[in-house]
Symmetry: C2
Subunit: 122 residues, 2 copies
């Protein structure tokens, strides 16, 4: 297909700051009904990602700081990438979301396996 990441990604997405707590992250996931949160600076630069799986890990391992559970080496895509490339990256790394980063390294959206599933739901 000729579907691009920018055609399916969420542009209005929840995010948190590095100084947030694990409880802040859990509260945001509950309130927004989402499972993936990019961690960003005040200039919208990407520092990491924290997911509901990471919060679950904090329960299993008694971690207490966001820094202990967030992933800092983030797999990302560009808005202009074909959606199949996003699917290949998520399959390869066994993840279900990718922050979308533009040419200025700003996070402009998030794309998940839910967005791809919706493509065949209609």
């Amino acid at each position: 297909s000729h579907t691009l990441v920018k055609d399916v990604m969420s542009r209005d997405f929840a995010k948190i700051k590095e100084k947030s707590s694990i409880e802040n992250a859990a509260e945001t996931m509950l309130h927004e009904e989402i499972t993936h949160l990019p961690v960003i600076t005040d200039e919208n630069k990407l520092l990491g990602i924290v997911t509901a799986w990471d919060i679950s890990k904090s329960v299993a391992r008694n971690y207490t700081g966001l820094n202990e559970i967030m992933t800092k080496d983030v797999i990302v895509v560009s808005p202009e990438d074909p959606i199949e490339l996003a699917a290949r990256k998520m399959k390869k790394y066994n993840i279900s979301s990718l922050p979308v980063v533009d040419e200025n390294q700003k996070v402009v959206g998030i794309v998940t396996t839910n967005h791809i599933s919706i493509l065949i739901a209609d």
Copy 2:
């Protein structure tokens, strides 16, 4: 497409028993690298489902028992259903996994938005 749920679902899937704790569920998600756990009886009948989102909710709301966080009214699919039906159900209820239940009400697998995303990854 003519792809059926049974063509893409995981047959070898992690599950937990009702008497498990939240910590048990979190430990299983960590160890198996999964985010969805059907809760089943000794006869493989479905009692509920617990996800990493629910574990995150337990952190935000200080819940301590599995019973407090698991969803008991579970949306399911049949192995013979077309994959598009599974995608429509997950879109409708804003969920990313469905236990697959056969005609004897036994859980025979699980299908997720990750399985659907993989269909376009090749």
